[in-house]
């Protein structure tokens, strides 16, 4: 067992024994190879279940609203950014949270592995290598190659807010062109982009796993479920699906922390980030705003300036 996880166990045990928190939200080993699963630890005897590694791919900030009372949470960089936004939006109180911060090298995208090996029978993870036995054969992968796309372009691998830190800090990768993926998409012609999104949207089955995996999607009534006015039919076709995905992306403008939980949750492999990353880039370049980086920086949609170059904001 790694030193990091032993320290997390000790800290979680202490918090529960001292009654400082009612529950520790973390990950335990899942039932499928290379898949961790969220868990909720309520007694000091259970803390040994907690794990932390490259298979912990959900954004646990998603659970803090549903659990009342004092809670500790094992949080990687993107999870803490989501927590910051939730605090800014008054969805969770800082004093109810104890953040067990972990630095993150990125998480594994199982779909990338299964595309080559077929369904995974067993896998071993050690020192940046993943040995996989799949239904269609065995293969060894370098972690960097099967890291989720989100993590490849991660700007905040270390927690931005925490009460305790575990493990060494991870250096932020030097990206020559941040948002290179968005730039490549912007350079495509309108027709090419349309064709790309039509193909992607045709895969969507509107199971809403993306929305439900997103810590920021917490509306009591999502616009897609609203029947008066009715924004969408029950139809599942590229146009309707696009309306849903674009609507969701715009609703996340200045709020999306680019954790990629939506993409990893999608059972159909829809490139949801192609939309949300564009909005994230625009927020950064046009408004110099990055969601959830500090508690002090107010949410993008909550601020205005009389110096705004676009006069429509200022009424003379």
């Amino acid at each position: 067992m790694s030193k990091v996880i032993e320290e997390i166990h000790a800290a979680a045990r202490q918090l529960l024994e001292d009654g400082k928190v009612d529950v520790v939200i973390g990950f335990e080993k899942g039932t499928l190879p290379l898949k961790a699963t969220p868990c909720f630890i309520r007694s000091p005897q259970e803390v040994e279940k907690l794990i932390w590694d490259e298979t912990c791919d959900n954004n646990l900030a998603n659970y803090v609203r549903q659990i009342k009372g004092k809670k500790a949470i094992v949080a990687k960089g993107c999870d803490t950014r989501a927590l910051v936004v939730l605090m800014q939006e008054n969805q969770v109180a800082r004093e109810d949270l104890y953040i067990l911060g972990v630095s993150c090298n990125g998480v594994i995208n199982r779909k990338k592995i299964e595309a080559e090996t077929g369904e995974i029978l067993s896998a071993e993870l050690a020192e940046g290598k993943i040995s996989v036995q799949g239904m269609n054969g065995s293969k060894e992968f370098a972690f960097a190659d099967v890291k989720d796309d989100t993590c490849q372009s991660c700007r905040y691998p270390n927690p931005v807010l925490e009460d305790a830190h575990f493990g060494d800090k991870v250096e932020t990768g030097n990206q020559e062109v941040p948002f290179a993926d968005v730039v490549a998409m912007e350079e495509k012609s309108l027709l090419e982009r349309r064709a790309y999104f039509q193909e992607e949207m045709a895969k969507c089955i509107r199971c809403y796993a993306c929305r439900n995996a997103c810590p920021m999607c917490y509306c009591n009534e999502c616009f897609v479920d609203c029947n008066s006015p009715k924004w969408l039919t029950g139809g599942v076709d590229p146009a309707e699906n696009m309306m849903f995905q674009v609507g969701r992306s715009l609703h996340l403008a200045g709020r999306c922390v680019d954790c990629g939980a939506c993409v990893r949750a999608c059972p159909q492999g829809v490139d949801i980030r192609a939309l949300s990353r564009k909005v994230t880039k625009d927020c950064l370049t046009m408004y110099r705003h990055e969601a959830g980086v500090t508690l002090e920086d107010p949410p993008a949609l909550n601020q205005f300036s009389t110096e705004d170059p676009q006069g429509f904001l200022v009424k003379e």
Binding site: L32, I205, Y208, A209, G234, D237
Partner: protein
């Protein structure tokens, strides 16, 4: 009997001029049932389709009828169009699920014309599994990778040829007309025997499950089970036996459609009343419903467990809610003595 794959390919291509041929086809890395024009388009060596075969008879979204208002009158048009269809390559789990869906859509109280008309005009050619995945648990659900239930005829892949077994009258008629059938040789018999012994090796045990659930409605197990569930519809939409739907109106000015779409017991909106009251108001109640419906209510109402062990739900789940683990936990749950 057997038919060589070459010969079957020719038969398949000839049938395509008279029938709508639906078969597993690969598109952007995913295999799903699609309309195909020739056998070369059919994906070979797939484990199973990503989405269940139920959509062949019960599509995710379908127009039931259209209507148009003219003055004081209304014209209603039935939107159901059925074509003579052959569904090829249905895996035994999905085929078995058809028999369960039949009980819902075609029973002594109700016959759903949309489901039934498609079902009646379709010949189901099953294709036995030659390999099982670690997430498969059909053998534990009372079927097997070579079950014939729900198919009209079953093909078993022998490599260069398919062994052919007629199951229903419809299947027997089809086989009687099938050109190019040969007797199985000794080598084929050995292969067939091996394939027929294939089993999934999961430890799921359903022998006492329904009875156990009879007394578990108020059990504390449900209090924690649902906690990590995101409440999305990935599991129910991936399930070959889940059949809940919603009916809505799509209209503009003087014309409209009445449509039916898949719905899910995992969604809060599924049971929400017009008053705002929701009888299944939390994830706890919804997860209990899903388990009870599959493994208890459906058994009491229709005589069968509504799960075929395809494993799609646990593969689709973003948070690794594993139905096998839930069944195990229910089996092990201590009953509270009142």
């Amino acid at each position: 009997m057997k038919i060589s794959k070459d010969k079957w390919g020719q038969v398949f291509d000839a049938l395509a001029s008279d029938y709508q041929m639906l078969a597993p086809k690969e598109d952007k890395g995913e295999v799903n049932f699609k309309r195909v024009n020739c056998f070369s388009e059919v994906k070979q060596g797939y484990l199973n389709t990503k989405l269940p075969a139920k959509a062949l008879f019960f599509p995710q979204h379908e127009t039931l009828f259209t209507y148009q208002k003219e003055g004081q009158g209304i014209t209603v048009k039935n939107a159901l169009k059925v074509e003579k269809t052959i569904a090829f390559g249905v895996r035994p789990c999905d085929a078995r699920a058809f028999l369960l869906l039949d009980k819902v859509f075609n029973n002594d109280q109700y016959r759903d014309p949309y489901y039934c008309d498609r079902r009646d005009t379709t010949l189901v050619i099953g294709l036995a599994c030659s390999q099982v995945a670690p997430t498969c648990f059909c053998s534990q659900m009372g079927l097997s990778p070579v079950s014939t239930a729900g198919t009209d005829l079953l093909f078993i892949d022998l490599g260069e040829a398919y062994a052919v077994e007629a199951v229903t009258e419809k299947g027997k008629e089809f086989v009687a007309k099938l050109q190019g059938l040969e007797e199985l040789n000794a080598e084929d018999q050995v292969k067939l025997e091996t394939l027929k012994n294939l089993q999934t090796s999961s430890s799921v045990d359903i022998s006492a499950l329904t009875e156990k659930l009879d007394s578990m409605f108020d059990h504390p197990y449900w209090d924690s089970l649902h906690e990590k569930c995101l409440g999305c519809n990935a599991c129910t939409f991936s399930c070959p036996t889940c059949h809940c739907f919603d009916i809505t109106e799509e209209f503009r000015k003087t014309e409209g459609n009445r449509v039916r779409s898949w719905d899910s017991c995992m969604a809060p909106l599924f049971t929400k009343h017009g008053s705002g009251h929701n009888p299944r108001e939390d994830k706890k109640a919804r997860w209990r419903q899903r388990m009870m419906h599959k493994f208890n209510y459906f058994v009491h109402n229709n005589g069968d467990i509504a799960c075929v062990g395809c494993g799609r739900c646990l593969k689709a789940c973003p948070v690794n809610m594993d139905l096998r683990q839930v069944i195990d936990a229910v089996n092990k749950a201590e009953l509270v003595v009142k």
